[in-house]
């Protein structure tokens, strides 16, 4: 008899028409540690948000301990004994550990007074009961990431939760902290708690879980006993069969090196592992270098660094053989470096400004006369671009009213409008419909023919395998593999590099 039974859960996000969960059946036994795995966007987080009352399913039912339940809010989830540790912590930095833990269910004195000693004692009791060692009087803002996570777990245990959901709990932790977390989870399971752990690190699945559910594209594709499945098979289940995109990449000679990263390191305070660790990477003219990796392995950091938005801690970046490591983004633009960011809504565009304004923002000086923008010329320029990129809608409306595909086209049009020899794409088709994606692919191949150097960061393996001339796989902030994409590459192989099952022989 399953402890938790979710049946036929279906959830459509109407904003971008994504079917995040498609008739998902999910079961967890009492007392087990159950891993929920899948690529980014597979629907794991949506399913757990539904279980925790943060999202309502369009269809489907939930049974907990044999009883049908409706979970409309996290508070109700708490009452039912469900607790969740979010990937990004929800803590009050100015408060002590004890205050954070009791917040919302504080011990009181005479009805209104906060019983600080009582809170400390209660939290100390929980800490002792589960065998942790941390001082509940410490201020949360001064803790390490691993300790903050422990505070989140304490919050759940203080509320007497029976079912703990952990959303990618290890992504921010160091090796040692992961060991400690796993010991904790095993101890909790031993005393009768049930744990669901979301992850895409297969080694961790093998290590910690008894059973594993694999999701892909909003569906459950497999449920296995962890002992009976190896990492290669899990990896195959996660990435699925290759989908060939409708793009034709003609063979082409590559030119001079345009952008080079040499031994780039990125250290961040509070992280004892570098987020980028000695990354070497060269993008030649007329070449598409695809960077693949699972989130949390340095893709986002590479985007920040290659776009010049984040200063690196070591190594250097060259453009045309000249050191550009310390240049700011206006300088980089002057040199002809362009950038289409993953976060197209906040980083790529100014949502409340018009399409026209978004188009000219990188080159507005061309339309200035006496410090005033010549509107007619600017609008002419915008209409011309809109026609060339088949962008629907009036260039005078705010860009935020456009569809995701059209917004991305505006950004692309802007970035390619000025003289450019290098362009960085990050997740260029994420969340876009098929037609818009194909349009973007055609443009990318077109500028490759024109001889631009292209760095394509993407978690979509099909995209990278179809487009890239050279494939770089990132794992834990390092380049795990740098492979020419000449036909012999399979999704399985790349997946194994991405998940750390395989490493290129040390350089």
């Amino acid at each position: 008899m399953a402890y938790l039974r979710m049946r036929g859960i279906t959830k459509l996000y109407p904003e971008n028409n994504v079917l995040a969960n498609d008739s998902v059946d999910f079961e967890v036994q009492r007392n087990e540690i159950h891993a929920l795995v899948g690529e980014n966007g597979a629907g794991k987080s949506t399913l757990m948000k539904i279980l925790y009352g943060l999202e309502r399913p369009d269809r489907g039912s939930i049974e907990l301990a044999g009883r049908a339940v409706r979970i409309a809010s996290p508070l109700e989830a708490n009452r039912l004994g469900i607790g969740m540790v979010h990937q990004h912590f929800r803590l009050i930095p100015e408060f002590t550990i004890a205050e954070n833990v009791v917040l919302g269910a504080e011990p009181r004195r005479q009805g209104i007074f906060l019983d600080r000693e009582g809170a400390l004692a209660a939290v100390r009791r929980v800490i002792g009961e589960y065998g942790f060692s941390i001082d509940p009087a410490l201020r949360v803002g001064a803790l390490t990431v691993g300790q903050m996570q422990l505070v989140e777990i304490l919050k759940i245990l203080y509320r007497r939760a029976e079912l703990l959901i952990l959303d990618e709990p290890t992504s921010v932790l160091t090796e040692q902290q992961i060991r400690r977390l796993f010991d904790t989870l095993r101890a909790l399971s031993a005393i009768g708690k049930t744990v669901i752990i979301i992850t895409h690190k297969l080694g961790e699945v093998k290590e910690i879980s008894q059973r594993v559910t694999v999701m892909r594209a909003g569906r459950v594709v497999a449920v296995r006993d962890t002992a009976s499945v190896d990492e290669r098979e899990l990896s195959r289940l996660m990435v699925g069969k290759p989908v060939s995109l409708q793009v034709r990449r003609e063979p082409q000679e590559r030119g001079r090196p345009v952008l080079e990263l040499q031994g780039v390191r990125l250290l961040v305070r509070g992280q004892d592992r570098p987020l980028l660790d000695g990354v070497d990477l060269t993008v030649h003219a007329g070449e598409i270098v695809g960077v693949a990796g699972v989130s949390g392995n340095g893709l986002g950091e590479l985007e920040d660094v290659a776009s010049g938005l984040r200063r690196i801690s070591g190594g250097r970046i060259l453009h045309d053989g000249q050191d550009i490591t310390r240049l700011d983004s206006p300088r980089l633009r002057q040199r002809g470096l362009a950038y289409v960011p993953a976060d197209r809504l906040h980083r790529g565009s100014s949502l409340k400004s018009s399409v026209m304004e978004n188009m000219i923002i990188a080159s507005h000086h061309r339309f200035l006369r006496g410090g005033v923008i010549r509107r007619r010329q600017a609008e002419g320029f915008a209409s011309e671009l809109a026609a060339r990129y088949s962008i629907e809608g009036d260039p005078r409306v705010p860009i935020g009213t456009l569809s995701g595909g059209n917004i991305q086209k505006v950004i692309l049009a802007r970035e390619l409008a000025s003289r450019t020899d290098f362009i960085l794409f990050s997740e260029p088709t994420w969340g876009l419909d098929v037609a818009s994606s194909e349009f973007i692919y055609d443009r990318i191949l077109e500028i490759r023919r024109q001889g631009l150097a292209i760095l394509l960061i993407s978690s979509n393996l099909d995209e990278i395998l179809s487009l890239a001339d050279t494939l770089v796989v990132m794992y834990r902030g390092r380049v795990a593999a740098c492979l020419p994409n000449s036909g012999g590459l399979t999704k399985e192989l790349v997946g194994e590099y991405m998940l750390g099952l395989r490493q290129e022989v040390a350089r």
Partner: protein, 319 residues
């Protein structure tokens, strides 16, 4: 870091403010001999009682992540309502004053309601209610000052001096401060105020009704405005519809000097109390030095800027 006992009692942030208060006091004590006399200190505290009461309440609201620019106007409405009832309609002064304070609470309730229902930024929402409330005070008083004949009531709230030394407004301020201190630093309501201002999402997830907390904050500031208006009318024996102009900004300034973060989540009642005291020190000190009255505001402005700069430095160094 070396922690003295005093520092531990006051907390690191409040300690910095206290040092500033002592430094400012020392400067004026050396510059003018009359500064450091019990008469002057109590006089200084008396003059600052209304501001102190409002500023300590404002701290609660700012910590929760909101502002109330209408407190000065609410202060005027309270005075005018009490004045019209007592002097023009001949009501009993106790009932008139009570009606004024209830009126103040009602206006605070309206502020909270406006922000809760429309989700307008409280800065702009209370800027508009400030003008509306000021208008109410103008209409009710017909733009004229109203004077009172008060006896015992006047003594109790404004004129009397305990033991011939401590003016009663100072006692009211200390009493109010004590209540605010317990509310903010000892009750579960207080911890919710801090949580709401520091990380609203986390507070919501913890089951705190954060909008209720903010609405309660508006009630507290309006009550403070009402109480200090009663103290003012008892001392001055007169009310004007323009009284309390700029009170809201001084209250915010005192709160910030005392270490309250404009972004919410950080602040202390004791800090605000000391912040109010610093502002009063500077004002009185400048008068005693014989500074031109026109220059005084400029100096107060400089002190605020300086205090905030130091504050930001201290709080960023900690992280």
């Amino acid at each position: 870091m070396k922690n003295t006992t005093l520092q531990r009692i006051l907390g690191v942030r409040d300690f910095g403010v206290l040092v500033a208060a002592v430094a400012v006091g020392a400067f004026f004590s050396i510059a003018t001999p009359v500064f450091l006399t019990s008469y002057n200190i109590f006089n200084l505290l008396r003059q600052t009682a209304e501001l102190g009461i409002v500023a300590m309440a404002m701290t609660v609201l700012i910590v929760s992540g909101e502002f109330d620019l209408s407190v000065g106007a609410i202060y005027a409405v309270t005075g005018v309502v009490s004045g019209v009832l007592a002097s023009k309609l001949g009501w009993n002064i106790w009932i008139s004053a009570l009606a004024g304070v209830v009126g103040a609470l009602f206006l605070g309730f309206l502020n909270g309601l406006l922000i809760a229902t429309t989700r307008i930024n409280s800065f702009i929402a209370t800027l508009s209610t400030m003008m509306v409330f000021r208008g109410i005070a103008m209409v009710l008083s017909q733009g004229q000052p109203i004077s009172f004949k008060l006896e015992f009531f006047m003594d109790l709230f404004g004129r009397a001096e305990l033991g011939g030394v401590v003016p009663v407004p100072v006692l009211w301020m200390l009493g109010w401060g004590l209540v605010m201190y317990f509310v903010m630093h000892r009750t579960t309501f207080g911890i919710k105020v801090f949580a709401t201002g520091d990380n609203r999402e986390a507070a919501d997830l913890a089951g705190i009704k954060t909008m209720r907390i903010k609405q309660a904050g508006f009630l507290i500031t309006s009550l403070a405005a009402g109480v200090s208006a009663v103290i003012s009318l008892s001392f001055l024996k007169t009310v004007t519809p323009t009284q309390g102009t700029g009170l809201e900004l001084e209250a915010i300034a005192a709160s910030v000097i005392g270490g309250t973060a404009m972004s919410g989540g950080v602040g202390s009642i004791l800090g605000t109390f000391i912040g109010t005291f610093i502002m009063a020190e500077v004002r009185t000190g400048l008068v005693l030095l014989g500074t031109d009255a026109y220059v005084q505001d400029a100096f107060v402005g400089l002190v605020i800027a300086l205090a905030v700069i130091i504050n930001v430095r201290l709080s960023t160094k900690k992280k």
